[in-house]
Every structure is written in C-alpha cells, then in structure tokens.
C-alpha cells in the first residue's frame, strides 16, 4: 500500500473509532442519567420507582430532624410550589432555610412525599453577593 493510501486508511480507522466511542459515550450517559426537575415539575411528572434530580430552595421553617433523618420541603427557586422530602445521609454544612439545594429523590412508597437518596444532598455555598438585605 502506498503511503498516502495507508494514511487514508489510518484516518478512516481513527475517525470510525472516534465515532463509535462517542456513540458509546452518549449511550452510557443517557442511560445513566436522571431527569433534572424543579419541585413543581416533580409534583406533576414524578413516577414511582424512578430516580429524579430535584433543584430548588429549602422552604423556610420546614426543617425538622427525626433521629438521623432530616425532613424538609423544597420549593421552586422562583415560586411557591414545594414538595416534602425525607432525607438520610450527609447533610452539608450550609444546609439551612432558603438555601439552594440539589438532591436525588424518588417517590415515597408510603404517602405522597419523596425520599432523598443517601448522600446526594448538595447545598450551594450561600452567595453573600446577591440578595443581602
């Protein structure tokens, strides 16, 4: 095979490999991903047995501790619709009223609340720059 043909073959092989790998990447990511919803969307769309990522703010005054479980409500960032969550696991230090949180939840088997999945609670560092009254 002359060199230019060899180069072309190599290029085709390389591109095909890259495409296959990219395809595999997309496939694994989509199948491993969870929907990212706001509490209002969660109320409307959540199906039992499915895991969802919910982002919102902790409703002021809603935090209760029951042993190792934390009960609180999460509301839309700009809104009032909220969902109750029972979470067990690491509670990040900044967790408090009105803080923005992200966590994985699934519908509770009993009642109409949601169960927070272990150790998935992330609380955003409070920004002192905005909204300081």
């Amino acid at each position: 095979m002359d060199p230019s043909r060899k180069r072309r073959v190599r290029l085709v092989v390389a591109l095909t490999t890259a495409l296959l790998l990219a395809g595999a990447l997309v496939y694994t990511s989509v199948s491993a991903s969870t929907e990212a919803l706001k509490p209002s969307q969660l109320l409307a769309q959540a199906r039992p047995g499915q895991s969802y990522q919910v982002t919102g703010k902790v409703v002021a005054g809603s935090i209760r501790h029951r042993g190792a479980t934390v009960l609180f409500r999460v509301r839309d960032r700009n809104g009032t619709m909220s969902v109750p969550v029972a979470y067990t696991g690491t509670v990040p230090d900044p967790f408090a009223d009105n803080r923005e949180v992200i966590l994985q939840v699934h519908k509770s088997a009993t009642g109409d609340g949601f169960v927070g999945e272990r150790d998935t609670l992330v609380t955003k560092c409070p920004s002192k720059f905005s909204a300081k009254s």
Binding site: L25, S29, H65, D93, D119, C125
Partner: protein, 726 residues
Amino acid sequence: MATLGRACLILALAVAVYGIGAGLYAWRTGRRDVATSARRAIYALAGLTTIAMVILEVAFLRDDFSYATVASHSSTTTPLFYKAAAVWSSQEGSLLLWVWLLSLWSSASLFFTRKRMRDVTPVATAVLALFAAFFTGLLVFTASPFHILGNAPVEGAGLNPLLRHPSMMIHPPMLYSGYTLFTVPFAFAVGALATGRVDAEWITATRRFALAAWLFLGIGIVLGARWSYAELGWGGYWAWDPVENASLLPWLTGTAFIHSIMIQEKRGMLKIWNVSLVLTTGILAILGTFLVRSGILDSIHAFGASTLGVPFVALIVFLIALAIGLVTWRSSLLRTEHRIDSFLSREAAFLFNNMLFVGLAFVVFFGTFFPLITEAFGQRRNVGPPWFDRITVPLALALVGLAGIAPLISWRRATVANLRRNFLGPVAFGAAVTVALIAAGGVAHKPLALAMFGLAGFVIAGVAQEFWRGTRARRAMSTDAWPVAVVSLVRRNRRRYAGYLVHVGMATLFVGVAASSAFQHANDVRIRPGQSATVGGYTFRDIGAVGRIDRRDGRIQRIELGSRLQVFHGGKSLGILEPTRGYYPSDAPFAPVSGMFDGESTSEVRMFAGLRRDVWSAVQPELGGIRHDTRIFDAAIRQMAKQGVPAGKQALAFQVGLEKAVVDYARSRPFATFRLIVSPLVSWIWIGGIIVFCGGLTALWPAPDAARRRATAGYAARVAQELGRA
C-alpha cells in the same frame, strides 16, 4: 482611598484598551517603538492593579465597613489571616485577583521575551491586553470592589465559616494563577499564528509558562480536594461537581500539550494539533473562570446567578471564532515535517497519551455540560459521579500504563531487543506487586484497583531503572560519587528526570485514590455516650459529649457541640477523636439563646491520618434537647425585657442561660449521628501531589546559563569538527 482604587481601575481599563490598539498597530506597521509602548502598557497595568489590590487588602485588614465588599465578607471577629484572604471570597474581589495575577504574569512573560520574537510579541501583547480589558471592564462597570455604602455598618457579615481553612484560602490564588498563566501561551499562540511564526522559538517561549500554569492549576485542584476531605462533613475529596470539572479540563489539555510539544520540538510534527491544543486550553481556562460565577450549572460553588454570564459567553464565543479562524488561515504553514516512523516509539506513546488526555477531557466536558445539552433537546437531565467514575477509571489506568511505557522506549524507533532489555525489570516488578497483593488477600475482588497498583509499581520501577542506568552512565563518564552523579544527571537532563519524578508523583496519587475508593469502610451510626460502633475493623466508643463556647475578645465566636470517641483497633487504643460541629450565631433579637444555633454551622472533622490508613470522623449532633432548653431561656429573657429589667441583667441572664444549656447538653448523654470512615492510603494522594510539585518545580527551574553552555559546548565542538571536516 476607595476613589483612588476606582480611579486606578478606570485607568487600568484605558491602559488595557491602549495596549490592544498599540499592539495591533505595532504588528501591522512593524514599528518597534509602538510595540515597546504596548509592552509598557502591560507593566503599567500590573502597577495599577497592584495599587487597587493593596487598597482593597488594607480596607479588609482595617475593618473598613464603608466598603460594601468588606461589610459583606468580613467582620471584626474574623482572624487576621482570613481577613486578608477574604478579599477574594467575593465576586468583585476575585475578579480583581484574576486581573492582578494576569497583569503580573503577562508582564513577566513580555519582559523575558522582550529581546526575542519581535514579530510575535506585539500581537501577544494585544491579546493579553484584551483579557485585561475584559476583566477590568467588568470591574469598572458591573462589579466594583470599591463601592461605598451610604451608611457604613458597625459590624460586617463575616466570612463564611466554611472558608476558614488555610487550604481554602490558598486555593483561589493557586487556581487563578493557573488560569491566568494559561492565557500567556494562548496569547503567544495567537501571535505566532497571526505572524506565521509557529516554529521552535514559539515553543521555547511558551513551554515554560504552560508548565508553570499546569503546575499551579494542579496544586490548586489538589488543595481543593484536600479541603473537601478535611473540612467538609462528607469525607470525600472529589465529587465530579461542575466547577471541579471545569478546573480539571484545562489541566488535562495542558498536560497533553506539555507532552506533544516535545514531539513538535523534535520532529516538527503535530503543529496544527499543538496550536489547537494550547488555544483550547486557554479557552477552557476562561470557561472555568466563567462557570464558577455563572449559575448555569447546578453546583455547590456558585457566586449566585449573576449578570456576568452574558459578557463571558460573548468573550468565549469570540475566542473560539478567533482560534478557528487563525488555525484555518495558517493551516498551510502548519504542514508537518515528518511522519511517525514507527508505532514502537516514544512519539507514538506521546501521541497515544495525547489522545487519552483529550479523550478524558472530552468525557469530563460532556458529562459536565450534559444538563445543558439535554435541555436543548427537551428535558434537562444530569449524570452523577458513578457515570464519571465508570468512564474515567479505565482511561486513568491506560494513562498510568503509558506513563510507565514512555520513559523506557526510545525516540523514533525501538527494536524488540531493546524493548525486552528495558521492559523486563519494570514489568516483572509490576507483576510481582500484583501477585503479592493477590496472595496477601482481600484485594483481588477489586480488579481495577489491583490493576492500578500493578501499573503504579511498573511506573515506579521503570523510573528507578532510568535513574540507576543514567547515574551509572554518568559515573562512567566522570569520577563523581553516586549522590553527585545523580544530581549532575538531573541537572544536565532536567526535563527528562523532572518529568520522571512527576510520573512517580502521579502514580502515587493514583494509588492513593484507588485504595481509598475501593477499600474504604464508611458508615453512619447513631449512638450516644456509652455505646460503640465498629467500622472497618476499628471500634469507636462514645465516651462523652462535649460542649464549648468559643470566645474571642469577650465576644462569642461560636458554640461547639460534639463527642469524644475512643478508637480501638486490635484491642489497642489509638487515641481519642473529638469531632464537633461549630454553630455560628445568627441575628435573632427575640431569641438570643436559640439564635446561637440558627446561623451557619460547620463540621469540625477529626481524624488520625497515617501512611497506611486514615481514621476519619464527623458528627451531626441532635439538637432537640438543647433547643428545648434554649427556648425556655429565651422566654425568660423576653419576660425580663417586658418587665423593664436593665439590659445588663438581661445580658447576664443570656450568658448564664447559654452556658447552662451547653453544659447540660454535654451531661445529658445525647444521641448523635456520626459518619465514620476508615480509608486506606489517603495520605498517599497528598504525598503524590507534593512529589508532582517538586518534579514540576525542578522542570521549571531555569538552567543556569553556565551549566547550559557547558553542556552544549561539548556538542558544539563536535559539530564544529564536522563543519571543518566537511
């Protein structure tokens, strides 16, 4: 003073804009004096931003709460060290830090290249001035650090207690140094493309800065991981958080660049690739800076959704267009001089290394921006840490393997006999390590970790072999004693041996990561004094609750509640860990005692760190009992206020009530939830980081001219002989 600061920033913006214009004009007309003037504009920029930084620092250190930034990020009770560092905990302060560091590194790079690359530097100056103009523009128009409050408060809001950790204070300057240093090779790449001078000189000039950027950024990332592990209550060091990933991306492409640049130097290959890589790295550095403060991705770091998003996106789009345009325009000049001779060569190993690093960067990029990509197609989705781990671990294994192979293989083309001679020892050692670990038991069920240990053994053995052979060769040519020979070897082949050291550091780091991820024992237990829990073969006995009031200058800083745990292993006591939680007061005039527990709280992690394993603990106390007590005291104090009891007596009641509540907490044998982790080889992560730092520093160290001349003189003489002969 604030007006002076603001004036300096406005002046800096003007100077930066002048720098852009002068640089471009000097490029088009070739006028040396204008080029020098543009360079001095960058020096002036450094001076002006330094003045602004100093003014802001002084304001923080003097508790000048008329500055809005100082009032919202510091307080009189903040310790001095953290006051100084609080400057960059705010949006405006961090932008100022960014542009200050940018101006310093830009000045340094232009100073050291002032007598060389006279075609390229004017354009590079213009690009650096463009970055400076962007950031000073933000500082002047949207995020001024010198905003003065009409009514200066008496006390500031204080630094977020989470940030009160030495690592957290050095982390931003390190990261920003990394980001800003990457803009230098970016600028010189743009200059090289614009002037058509993508050659050996450009490589030499930018290599050092790329290496320094890589080093600082890497240290910044490791410091962030260390802070996460030692300060936060979850016991992990990496969460694939979008902002963590954003700092990793330019580091990955930067590592690829440092390697592939050597191929261009030697064989004139990969010119388009290298230029694209360094341009991409610069853009990723800006992207990283942007992500932290944009709020477009859900992450633990967010300066809050701000108005800075749009200008940053505009800058990034402009940079991408510029990069693509330049590379396309000059593609004919970037023709490769040679092709790869053989797949059994160091060039091929480096090429493969590049593909892996860029592939890894792409994977991380894809996973990080997945929410935005999926949102564009409909429903926003996100991928979590398990996906990242699954994809990156095999890539990391391949990279460690390559890191072991490349030093043992020659440039251009290696023969099978050579391979056998060079690989036998290290491969045998790696295999021996693997077999030994399998035999020792308890490791084989985690094949990926086992593979990492074996590969790390291979890498380290290979480097040891290289040092041994090199030193032996050195001694054959001179009469140096062993230690002198080693030092001399490294000094004469600094790049190579410093690189080997970095490989050893990275292998160590990965061993730590593999061991602490795969063989960790972690559990959350809820116990009270008198009870025990066992995790990973270690028994933790709760021997008593603690309660403390931290006072400074007569003022209450925080309340600490926690427990004392006695740790036993194999029947012997290792000592006592006292994890606590610190509760910072909030302003609650109607509930002064309860208010002590309603503000920020931080985990005080306590651990026994060791070479073989870390024993880590954090606690989440249950506050039901103490809250009950404090509410009673609050009611009593409210009653006193209603009855007109003097403020002094109320304050005394407050002190008494608080102290009693805290003491009663300790005495009440309360339940608490503990996170207990026994994690092997975590310390090796930090040790590996230190080794990488030493290696990087060695590589960066400027070779003293005399030594360099001596090293090349021999070859010059021989070549001259050729000349004479020819």
